[in-house]
C-alpha cells in the first residue's frame, strides 16, 4: 500500500550524483535551499527550475517515477497555487467570472511560490534518493563535528538519526502487516465519515506503538551486548572520501549562485 511512497527512500545507482561524497551533497543542498530564496523574478525562477531538472537528469532518476512518488506533495503545490490565485489581490485583473477574480500578481506569486516549493522538495528528494541513509548520517556527523566543542552530542544525534532512518522501512512494513490483519478483521480505512476514519486508525496505531517500543528495547539490549559505549574513540568502517567531483559540484553551485545574483532584480 505504501510501495509508491518515495519520500526518504534510497535507490542505488552509479550516476555522477550518486557517487558524490555525502558531505558535498549535504552542503550543496543546504546552500541550494538558501539560494532558492534569492530568486525573485521569472528569469531566476526559470534558472532554478532548469537547474533542478538538469540535476534529476544527471542523477538518472526516471521523471515519471519521481513525480508519481511525489503525488501527495504535488497536490500541496497545487493547493498553494490555488490559494494565491484566490487571495492575492494586486495588479490588473486577468480573469473574471462571477465572484472569482484572478489578479496578475496572484498568478505570478502563485507560480513563483509553487516553483520554489517544488524545487526545494525535488532537491531534497534527489538527495535522499541518491544517498544511502547511512552515508547521509555519516556526512552529517562529520559536518557537525566542530560543534562538539560546544558540547553538542553530535555522535548521539547522528546515531538517533540513523536509527530512525533505519527503522522507517521496518515500521512501514509493520504498518502494512497490521493494516492487512485489521482489514481482514473487517476494519475499514477508506470509507465512512472523518470521525469513523480517525477511529479506524486506533487499531493500527496501538499495535504499531507496542511493537516500536519492543523493538527499541531489543535494539538497546543488542547494542549493549555488543559493547556499544557511545562515540568516544569509535573508528569508522566507511571512510568518507572527498574527490574532484565533489569540488566540481560546489563550483557548479557557485556558478548557479552567480547566475541567480546577476539575474535577480
Amino acid at each position: 500500500m505504501m510501495e509508491k511512497m518515495i519520500f526518504g527512500r534510497y535507490i542505488p545507482g552509479h550516476s555522477f550524483v550518486h557517487r558524490l561524497d555525502p558531505r558535498s551533497k549535504l552542503i550543496f543542498v543546504f546552500l541550494f535551499i538558501v539560494a532558492v530564496f534569492f530568486a525573485n523574478n521569472t528569469a531566476t525562477y526559470a534558472v532554478l527550475l532548469a537547474f533542478t531538472l538538469l540535476t534529476i537528469l544527471t542523477a538518472r532518476i526516471r521523471l515519471y517515477f519521481l513525480f508519481n512518488g511525489l503525488k501527495p506533495i504535488l497536490f500541496l503545490v497545487a493547493f498553494t497555487l490555488l490559494m494565491h490565485f484566490i487571495f492575492t489581490k494586486e495588479g490588473p485583473i486577468l480573469f473574471e467570472w462571477k465572484f472569482i477574480r484572478i489578479y496578475e500578481e496572484g498568478l505570478r506569486q502563485g507560480i513563483y511560490i509553487s516553483i520554489r516549493f517544488l524545487v526545494l522538495v525535488l532537491m531534497t528528494t534527489i538527495l535522499t534518493l541518491t544517498t544511502s541513509p547511512i552515508s547521509i548520517t555519516d556526512g552529517m556527523e562529520t559536518l557537525l563535528n566542530p560543534l562538539k566543542k560546544l558540547k553538542l552530542p553530535v555522535h548521539e544525534l547522528a546515531l538517533m538519526m540513523s536509527i530512525s532512518l533505519r527503522f522507517i522501512p521496518t515500521l512501514m512494513d509493520e504498518t502494512d502487516k497490521i493494516m492487512k490483519a485489521q482489514l481482514a478483521r473487517g476494519s475499514d480505512l477508506t470509507t465512512g465519515s472523518l470521525k469513523e476514519r480517525i477511529k479506524a486508525v486506533v487499531p493500527l496505531l496501538v499495535p504499531l506503538f507496542v511493537s516500536a517500543f519492543k523493538r527499541a528495547e531489543d535494539l538497546a539490549i543488542a547494542m549493549e551486548v555488543r559493547g556499544y559505549r557511545g562515540g568516544e574513540g569509535r573508528t569508522r568502517y566507511r571512510q568518507l572520501d572527498w574527490q574532484w567531483r565533489d569540488t566540481i559540484a560546489l563550483v557548479i553551485f557557485g556558478l548557479l549562485l552567480i547566475a541567480l545574483l546577476w539575474l535577480r532584480s
Partner: protein, 290 residues
Amino acid sequence: MDIVLQQVGYLYAKDSPFEKRALRDVNATIPSGSYTAIIGHTGSGKSTLLLHLNGLLKPSEGSVRIGSTLITSDTKGKALKDVRKHVGIVFQFPEHQLFEETVEKDIMFGPMNFGIPEEEARSRAHELIELLGLPPDIAQKSPFDLSGGQMRRVAIAGVLAFNPSVLILDEPTAGLDPRGRKEIMELFHRLHEEENLTTILVTHSMEDAARYADQVLVMHDGTSVLSGTPEDVFGKAEELASYRLGIPRSVRFQRDFETLTGKPLGQLALTEEQLAKEMAVVLKEAGGRK
C-alpha cells in the same frame, strides 16, 4: 465456498524501479470443506498467494474466484469487504494485531465490523475464550498483560469470532512451545471437522501438512508446481528436494527402514502413528515366517 485461482500473477510495486514479480501463473482449486496445506521454501510466494485468498491483494494478472465473487485486477473495494467476512486469516504472529483495552473487546472487534450485533458478539467472545482453553476471567484483562501463548489464542479467537467459512492459517504455531503447537493444531483440526470449515494452512512443517491436510499445494519460485493428496506429494521426495523442501520425519524414517531391511511398508506413513502400525504389520509378518 470453493476457491479457484486461474493463472494468477502478482507484481509488487508495479511500474516503479522496485517492481518485483511475486507470483506467476498460479493455478489451484481449493474445494469447499477441504483442508489444504500450502508448502514452499521461504520466498516461494506462499504469503503473497495467501493475501489473494481473501482479497487483501488483487491479482495483477488472472483471476481468483472465492465462492461466487470473482476478483481480478479491477475489482472494486466494496466486494472485497464482503469476501473478507467469509474468509478469516490468522496471520503469522497474530498477537501483533491486538489493540483493545480488554480481551473481550478485542475479540468483538471483527464481528462488530462485520455488523454482528453487540450482544451476539459478546457471547461469541465468551464461547471462544472457553473453546480456546483460556481462563474465563481473562475477558476483562488487557491483552497486553497476557503471556505470549495466551495472546496468540486471543488473536486467533478474534478471527474465529466472525464465523468465517474459510479459515486461512499462516504458520499459526510459529514461536510456540511444542505443546502449545500441538494444542493449537488439534484445535484447528477439530474446528475444521465440527464447523465444516474450509481450512488453508501455510506451513513450514511437513509433519503438520502430512498429518492434517487432505490436499497439499507446493509453491516454488512464485508459481504452483505440484499439488495432490499428501500421499502423492510426499511420495515424490526427489521432486520436493528440487524445490528445497523436505519430507515428513515419518516418511524419511520409512524410506531408511525400507532400504535397510528391503521390506516395503504397505503405504506411505504420513504420521508417526501410521508408521508404527505399518512397521508392526511388516515385523509381525517377518516374525511369523521364522
